[in-house]
């Protein structure tokens, strides 16, 4: 099989994924139509699932799709029900909020870039496709051995969120009745 042709297709696919992710992310931020924002976020998160595919783990990619596109974006849709109707004039964005947003994302960006620069990157070309390194079994084993504390802490966070939601809903219902 011609490897150079295949490599070219892979490269092209990678940059298309990058473009889709960046486009999705900017749609998620800039338009004033809230549904565009949600769909843009879904597109960006799908692009990230594509990156996991390039990194050789179909499982993580599908999980990304299932949880972030399927659950998180759908949960954000509930916020649309609380938003102002489209035919009403959109209020100008408060200056302070925009600057705070820029500041927050700048801090995150610098952090992410410095971690990326510090990491020693090894070429992964050999085991992109049939890599057993990130198979379901290995990820499961890693989650329940080396990363067990992290795993448990995350589940604790989710538990707190659920209890908080139940209590908030219960209180507001008691007040209204």
């Amino acid at each position: 099989m011609e490897t150079s042709g295949l490599n070219f297709i892979l490269q092209a696919a990678f940059w298309v994924t990058v473009a889709l992710t960046v486009a999705g992310a900017s749609i998620a931020v800039f338009p004033r139509n809230i549904l565009y924002n949600v769909l843009g976020l879904a597109l960006a998160l799908t692009g990230i699932a594509g990156f996991y595919l390039f990194l050789g783990s179909l499982f993580v990619a599908l999980m990304q799709l299932l949880i972030y596109v399927g659950a998180i974006c759908i949960a954000i849709v509930f916020a649309i029900m609380l938003s102002r109707p489209l035919h009403m004039e959109a209020l100008p964005r408060p200056r302070a909020k925009v600057w705070l947003g820029i500041l927050g994302s700048a801090v995150f960006f610098i952090g992410a870039v410095s971690v990326a620069l510090k990491t020693k990157w090894l070429p992964a070309a050999g085991h992109v496709y049939n890599s057993s390194q990130w198979s379901v079994q290995n990820i499961g084993n890693a989650l329940l051995t080396r990363y067990e504390l992290v795993f448990e802490v995350i589940s604790l966070v989710l538990l707190v969120a659920i209890i908080g939601a139940v209590i908030t809903a219960g209180f507001s219902r008691r007040i209204s009745s």
Partner: protein, 327 residues
């Protein structure tokens, strides 16, 4: 398969996609006819009779009519999203076919996370319905779309938990391994509760009656696709019936032995036919349910999922995990 020009895997994928496209159209044509026949006979009337033997060609005529219709868009609709939605709704449907095990070896791409693939992509359907409902700029469409989102969030959890209990027993997310492990005993006999939960939640996920409140024609005109006509509506319709096939095919492979005959008796019938017979029987049951039960109210729908199905499926999953660990 011989080493072809592009390698057998790519060739297989392309051939599979072509077959899937053809099959999904034929399947939808047949299912629409079947639905009208089933509803007709349940209501003591013959259903379509005029075109072809027993009206078999009726849906083809209807399809031609739909294709020939002008695409009408409401004046204040969101143009881009309005046309994006019917296309988007069809993507997950096509992906789902990639991993369905029609027979031993008759699977387009046997991957070890096949079950996950079907459910990961099925969430896109909800986004498409929401897009369509919102873009129509119509209150009935928006109400239908928002209901669909709430319903899908609620019913996806018991659906996945029911599937998880089967996956726990097989130790695999691959469809062909799940089917292969049901050679003698189908999982419906070992996991009857999970099977029931799966079928109920799947009916809700495909927006079928008695859970068809996103469409609810008696209160919401036609729900999320109120403003769609011609092929826009046609694509939503096609996706709904193809989704029904996928949901039933997944049920067949997870709980009803896939291509295996009952208790290992195959009667000389090839596996593909066993698979199709069981799948179409399940579809028939879903249609039967639709024309037998009235639509549930929204609060009943939500309470049933969050207070009955989710706790039951959680308990089922925990018991399965304990039993699997002990044996």
């Amino acid at each position: 398969m011989s080493e072809g020009l592009l390698g057998s895997e790519l060739f297989r994928l392309i051939l599979g996609l072509v077959i899937v496209l053809a099959f999904s159209q034929l399947n939808a044509l047949f299912l629409v006819w079947l639905e009208r026949k089933v509803s007709g006979h349940i209501q003591l009337r013959p259903g379509p009779m005029e075109v072809g033997p027993h009206g078999l060609l009726q849906t083809i005529i209807d399809g031609v009519k739909l294709v020939g219709k002008e695409l009408i868009m409401p004046l204040k609709a969101d143009r881009k999203l309005f046309f994006l939605a019917p296309v988007l709704v069809f993507t997950p449907v096509l992906v789902g076919f990639l991993v369905l095990p029609f027979g031993p070896g008759l699977i387009i791409h046997d991957m070890n996370v096949g079950v996950l693939l079907v459910f990961a992509f099925s969430t896109i359907t909800v986004l498409a319905i929401l897009t369509g409902g919102w873009a129509s700029n119509n209150k009935y469409a928006l109400l239908g779309a928002v209901r669909s989102v709430a319903q899908n969030v609620a019913y996806e959890i018991p659906l996945l938990l029911a599937v998880m209990s089967v996956v726990l027993m097989v130790h695999s997310l691959s469809f062909s391994q799940i089917v292969a492990s049901q050679k003698t005993v189908w999982f419906v006999f070992i996991q009857p509760l999970a099977c029931l939960i799966y079928l109920i939640a799947a009916t809700a996920e495909t927006n079928r009656a008695p859970f068809d409140i996103p469409e609810a024609e008696s209160e919401l005109v036609a729900g999320f696709h109120t403003e769609y006509g011609g092929m826009g509506f046609g694509l939503f319709f096609l996706a709904e019936y193809t989704n029904m096939f996928i949901v039933c095919a997944v049920a067949t492979s997870l709980f009803f032995g896939g291509w295996n005959g009952p208790f290992g008796i195959s009667l000389g019938i090839p596996g593909v036919f066993w698979f199709l017979i069981k799948t179409y029987f399940l579809i028939f049951v879903i249609m039967w349910v639709r024309w037998t039960f009235p639509r549930v109210r929204f609060d009943q729908l939500m309470n049933f999922s969050w207070k009955v199905l989710i706790p039951l499926s959680l308990v089922n999953l925990v018991i399965t995990a304990i039993v699997v660990k002990i044996i």
